[in-house]
Assembly symmetry: C3
Homo-oligomer: 185 residues x 3
């Protein structure tokens, strides 16, 4: 009788040791935090200095800085300080800014590459979220990487899904950005 | 006799508890995934629009956008959409694209700084790998950081080693990129 | 008597299993490594080629490459190869270089966005540290993300705090950079 209990225990201990030996699957694949933002971009065209939130600062040979380049804007680099809102209304009170840049990097499709930081400063959130990744706009959803965070997002990592919410030619576009954090600390 | 078994179990449990108390060394230092890619870059020189895969979009005072700057190209920013192949043949079918930019950032040596995403789209892999880091080309091997991934490379991190496989003046260079992931999820 | 020991063991095993089920808080919030660096930036103004450590390579419409743009330098992109020292003396022997770029990204405040790699090459440290994040210079301290590392900083992540140590108009600025690593491997 006294011998049977230790056998059950032995199994427990083995399972316990086994679960230690399987390394990575312990991390939860369900997000530890979710957020949804809207990102508004109004590019400077030479005449809208008051409203513009971004500007072309570099362009390939033959292109200029107030009109997006031909060939799918290939080579244009755009620096932005874009408002971030909680709903899809450009005129809602921003809860933060998205600061950084994107480049159009393909000659035969609208594909951009983003690298920027969302700086949140509201009663709800105080901190930064840094992202980078490719944005092939032909796909309905595009996943980028969240590579770091500070403040309320200290050491966070995760995935940011971009969805084009609307666009008006080259004048304005709005992204819905769904952030899923999988490492929250 | 019945007492001896529990003592052995006790040791097991203690070892088990101990391994929980040692925090970080559990992460494996052997890579959890390895990949080797070849990266091909043909810079736009004003006459090779059809073949070029990259273009100078920013340059320091006095330099232009169809010829790399003097002083080790210091200040040139190059946007690229470069094919990624599995072998070192430029004409092999690409398994993906490397999209992003590099800048030459030193006045007295050939040193670049890369920030880009490898977008894989093949029967073998679907997903993205985002990298950033310094590339001091005088060294035979250079380590950059893999800061994030999506799809098949969900939340991955690791090290990317760059090796110059060949170059033809300023017209073409090919990198061998060995990626070792140490965090795989 | 022989039954009591297994009960204690059972509690141990349960605690052990429980601690496996609590996922993330095990990571230590105290830094596993601390470093302090000074970052020196002398921007090229058209006349200081010998001393300059950085250069404007992109600027918005109407601005040029030897003078920072009006409107809080919005849109200027600066590529740098800046010396890193252990104390606040520009003339101390550098222990490494900071290589990458910053962009001024706000029209109504001095805010920059940095993305770069600290390349250390000294008897004390050999390796790289890659950072990215917003730098709203009006705040006394600004937190950026350390997104990766190589060599002595293999796979490290953490927070870098920027403090403006001094500045002389547009000619020179010095940052005190305090790096706290929270993931050290």
């Amino acid at each position: 009788m006294g011998a049977k209990v230790p056998i059950i225990l032995f199994v427990f201990v083995m399972l316990c040791a086994l679960s230690l030996a399987i390394p990575s699957k312990r991390k939860p694949y369900a997000p530890c935090k979710n957020m949804v933002f809207y990102f508004h971009d109004i590019i400077y065209n030479g005449m809208n200095a008051a409203n513009a939130t971004s500007a072309i600062v570099a362009a390939p040979k033959g292109a200029n800085l107030t009109k997006l380049a031909p060939q799918f804007h290939f080579g244009d680099m755009v620096v932005f300080d874009d408002p971030i809102t909680l709903d899809n209304n450009l005129h809602s009170k921003p809860i933060g800014r998205a600061q950084g840049f994107y480049i159009y990097d393909t000659k035969n499709a609208f594909t951009a590459w983003f690298s920027f930081t969302i700086v949140l400063n509201s009663p709800y959130h105080e901190g930064t979220i840094t992202l980078a990744g490719a944005d092939p706009t032909v796909k309905r959803t595009r996943d980028l990487s969240v590579t770091g965070g500070t403040g309320d997002f200290f050491m966070h990592r995760g995935i940011a899904t971009f969805i084009t919410d609307t666009f008006q030619g080259d004048a304005y576009f709005r992204l819905r950005i769904e952030i899923k954090f999988f490492e929250c600390w």
